[in-house]
């Protein structure tokens, strides 16, 4: 067994185990940490697939950004040690059945499908190429989605601030009056 196969198995097991733990853990902060592990393992897979840039993005943005954000919000809205009450068993069972059927369906389909092997020579993914592609307008150029995503990020930032902003006393009064 080659080393890359071992690594793949390691990452896969980590991803599966921590995913399951993320969605089943009673403690919310722990769940967040398990999620972090999942994300980190995923970035490991990205390295294996030879997408170093994306792996780095994954690490910084997901593991560094989003998880931290989530943990912050957890701290804002709940106690660290808070257990949350288990949901009803009926709901769990039905959801599990649905998820299992869905997973089985997908896996069977994947295994059935013959993916045509490629003969193309793999392209070297370096930073220069990524930068050029992102900013070029021609074939293989992604400047339009890049711009759109930048606008989206700006809008999301503004929206997050507006939504989460503390209500001013005056408008709070108004809101109370309305209720």
């Amino acid at each position: 067994m080659a080393s890359n196969q071992i690594m793949f198995i390691l990452f896969s097991v980590m991803i599966v185990v921590f995913s399951v733990l993320t969605v089943t853990s009673r403690r919310i902060l722990r769940a967040a940490v398990y999620l972090l592990f999942v994300l980190v393992s995923t970035s490991g897979l990205y390295f294996m697939l030879n997408y170093q840039f994306l792996a780095a993005v994954q690490l910084t943005l997901y593991a560094g950004g989003i998880v931290v954000l989530i943990i912050f919000s957890i701290l804002l809205t709940s106690h660290i040690s808070q257990n949350f009450e288990s949901s009803g068993w009926k709901k769990n069972i039905f959801s599990a059945i649905a998820a299992l059927i869905g997973a089985l369906l997908s896996i069977i389909t994947i295994l059935d499908y013959k993916f045509s092997a490629t003969t193309e020579v793999a392209q070297e993914v370096n930073m220069k190429l990524i930068g050029k592609s992102l900013l070029s307008t021609g074939y293989d150029g992604y400047v339009l989605p890049f711009e759109i995503i930048s606008v989206l990020l700006l809008a999301a930032m503004v929206a997050a601030i507006v939504v989460a902003k503390k209500v001013s006393p005056k408008s709070a009064e108004l809101q109370n009056l309305k209720q």
Binding site: K91, F94, S95, A98, I101, G102, L105, T109
Partner: protein, 640 residues
């Protein structure tokens, strides 16, 4: 040729008055002013009608010795197809011009009279606006150029009659009477409509001039095709006559007329004596060439229905005590005579005497019957009662009313030289020359008429000296002036040479008094008066004794031969119980039940399924994902 197009104003003006008084009456004007406005408007129309009559009869109408039918105005109103269109217009011919004069004269008298009679009543403006509506509809009816226009105005007349009978809408009896009148006449009008449809289907035209052209082709349509032994044309004319029977209160649709006396007395005078009720006679006269040439069987029906109604009503009139009802039955009887006269006539020449007599009698009857009703109104106004048992000896208190009423009674009894003597004489002559049985009936009716009219007269003005709570006083000038004018009309209209003006073929008809008929008819009139004098001049016990002797006959006649009860039995006991009730049950339980069941089921289901909208995000997500999986399974494995 004189232009008659101004006659359209005869229709527009009263309609305008109706709108003005009806919509703005009680807001804009005082009661008195609106009454004067209505009367003034009608005065103008009356003058216009007189001018028209003068110009038609004496200046221009006659061409080659016959009066022409003139279409003064014609507007295409509803254009369905090239050939099928309904027009509105003004048709002038001898009978429509004559009716114009009758209607406007009587209507004007009634308007003036109402100024006094209705004074201080609630809804004074409403009354005058309804009167205007009635005048409009009645004038539209007589001036109609085609049968469909006539039908529209025919219904409008029915509506205004309904409105006026129910004028005291707070009185339950008035409401009942108005409903009864409307429903009964409406039922009869259904026959009229069927008749119109059959007729115009066969002849392909609505137009009167085309329809009644005696040498045209329309008149010969459908005479051959038979149904139940009668030609299609005969059937259609019988159906058309059914409308006339309803409107003119002939047997068996007469039951609404006595009840219609619940309306104000001027209304009874105008609508239920002089104008509207003769619409049936007018209708038959209008379609007369068709009746006479292509549907003689229908004409026989007209004659027999008329004769029977006249006798029937005359007998009932002898027993009634409500003076307005006596007059109502007398109206029915007189209209029956007109119908009978029409029925015994035939088209053209000497045989057309009955047509002329009928129109003549229509004219004189309008005058004296309006006078009788207005006189009765004055009496009721003074005594505050409708019953002749509450009256007696009134001649001292109401001199003008007394004289005019006496003139009217003498007129209706057919005493020369009053007008009805001439017209009734013509009717009897016509009947004598055509059918002896009908002559006998009409002769008897003439005697009965004289009897019951003088029974009324003696009971009111002579008879017992009744003590009144308030001394009855003569009516105001607005009421007596119309009485006097109408009395003069009753005196002199008999001398109008109708045989030169209104005849079946519009040519001059040579006729004169036939002494062989005239003398017996006067004699029987005098006999009737004499019997009435003996029985009612002073208070005697003869009437009571007679009533006990002919107990059953009297009772039957007093209860109007139980026709109302018969109809009630048929409608209530048979139609309502065995048809209407099951239908109502079906409607309430099956039709409504189905609807209710649908509503209930919907409600129940929605209460059940509203749980789906739980607001639980995860339930929605679950359904969504399950759905996606199902679809995936379906498309991957089942969709081949």
């Amino acid at each position: 040729m004189i232009n008659f197009s101004y006659t359209i104003w005869i229709l527009i003006l009263p309609f305008f008055m109706f709108l003005l008084l009806g919509l703005a009456g009680h807001k804009l004007f005082k009661a008195k002013l609106s009454g004067l406005l209505g009367t003034g408007g009608l005065g103008i129309i009356t003058i216009l009608s007189y001018i028209t009559a003068y110009r038609y009869f004496f200046v221009t109408g006659k061409i080659e010795g016959a009066f022409q039918k003139i279409t003064a105005v014609n507007i295409t109103w509803l254009q369905f197809t090239d050939k099928l269109h309904i027009d509105m217009g003004v048709l002038l011919d001898p009978i429509s011009v004559m009716m114009l004069v009758v209607i406007t004269t009587v209507s004007l008298m009634v308007h003036i009279y109402s100024l006094g009679y209705m004074k201080g009543e609630k809804g004074f403006e409403r009354f005058f606006s309804f009167l205007s509506l009635f005048s409009f509809s009645m004038l539209g009816l007589v001036l109609a150029t085609n049968i469909f226009q006539m039908y529209i105005f025919w219904e409008l007349v029915g509506v205004s009659s309904f409105l006026l009978i129910g004028f005291y809408y707070q009185k339950p009896s008035a409401v009942r009477a108005s409903k009864k009148a409307f429903i009964v006449t409406r039922f009869a009008d259904l026959g009229f409509l069927i008749g119109i449809l059959i007729l115009s289907f066969n002849t392909k035209t609505f137009d009167f001039i085309t329809l009644t052209n005696p040498t045209g082709t329309a008149i010969l349509q459908g005479t051959g095709i038979g149904f139940l032994g009668l030609s299609i044309m005969t059937w259609s004319m019988i159906f058309v006559f059914m409308g006339g029977v309803g409107k003119s209160a002939m047997f068996p649709f007469h039951i609404w007329l006595p009840d219609a006396m619940e309306g104000p007395t001027p209304v009874s005078a105008l609508i239920h004596a002089a104008t509207m009720v003769v619409a049936g006679v007018y209708l038959v006269a209008r379609m007369f060439p068709i009746y006479a040439i292509s549907a003689p069987v229908a004409l026989h029906v007209v004659a027999y229905v008329g004769a029977f109604s006249s006798l029937f009503a005359a007998i009932i009139a002898c027993t009634q005590t409500d003076i307005k009802r006596v007059l109502a039955y007398s109206t029915m009887s007189q209209i029956g005579m007109m119908m009978c006269a029409l029925g015994v006539a035939s088209y053209g020449g000497e045989e057309g005497l009955g047509y002329m007599a009928s129109m003549f009698h229509l004219f004189t009857h309008a005058m004296f019957k309006a006078l009788l009703f207005l006189g009765a109104g004055a009496i009721i106004h003074a005594v505050h009662s409708n019953y002749m048992t509450d009256m007696g000896g009134l001649r001292k208190y109401l001199p003008i009313t007394h004289i005019t009423f006496l003139i009217a009674c003498l007129t209706i009894a057919g005493i020369p030289p009053f007008s009805a003597f001439f017209s009734k004489d013509e009717i009897l002559t016509a009947a004598f020359h055509s059918n002896k049985i009908l002559f006998g009936v009409e002769y008897a009716v003439a005697g009965l008429t004289a009897f019951y009219m003088f029974r009324l007269y003696f009971n009111i003005f002579w008879g017992k000296d009744t003590q009144y709570h308030h001394t009855p006083h003569e009516a105001p000038a607005t009421m007596t002036i119309p009485l006097i004018l109408l009395a003069i009309a009753s005196l002199f209209t008999g001398f109008i040479p109708f045989n030169k003006l209104v005849t079946s073929d519009s040519k001059v008809l040579e006729s004169g008094l036939e002494m062989m008929i005239a003398i017996p008819s006067v004699l029987i009139g005098l006999l009737g008066i004499g019997i009435a004098y003996v029985m009612y001049r002073k208070e005697t016990s003869i009437p009571d004794r007679l009533a006990t002797t002919f107990k059953y006959g009297y009772k039957w006649a007093y209860n109007k031969f139980y026709i109302d009860e018969l109809y009630l039995f048929v409608t209530k006991k048979i139609i309502f119980r065995y048809i209407a009730q099951p239908v109502a049950w079906f409607d309430r339980h099956i039709v409504d039940g189905t609807m209710n069941a649908i509503a209930t089921v919907t409600q129940v289901i929605s209460f059940r399924i509203r749980g789906f909208q739980s607001g639980q995000l995860q339930k929605y997500a679950f359904v969504f994902i399950t759905g996606v999986i199902m679809l995936a399974i379906f498309f991957i494995y089942l969709w081949k």
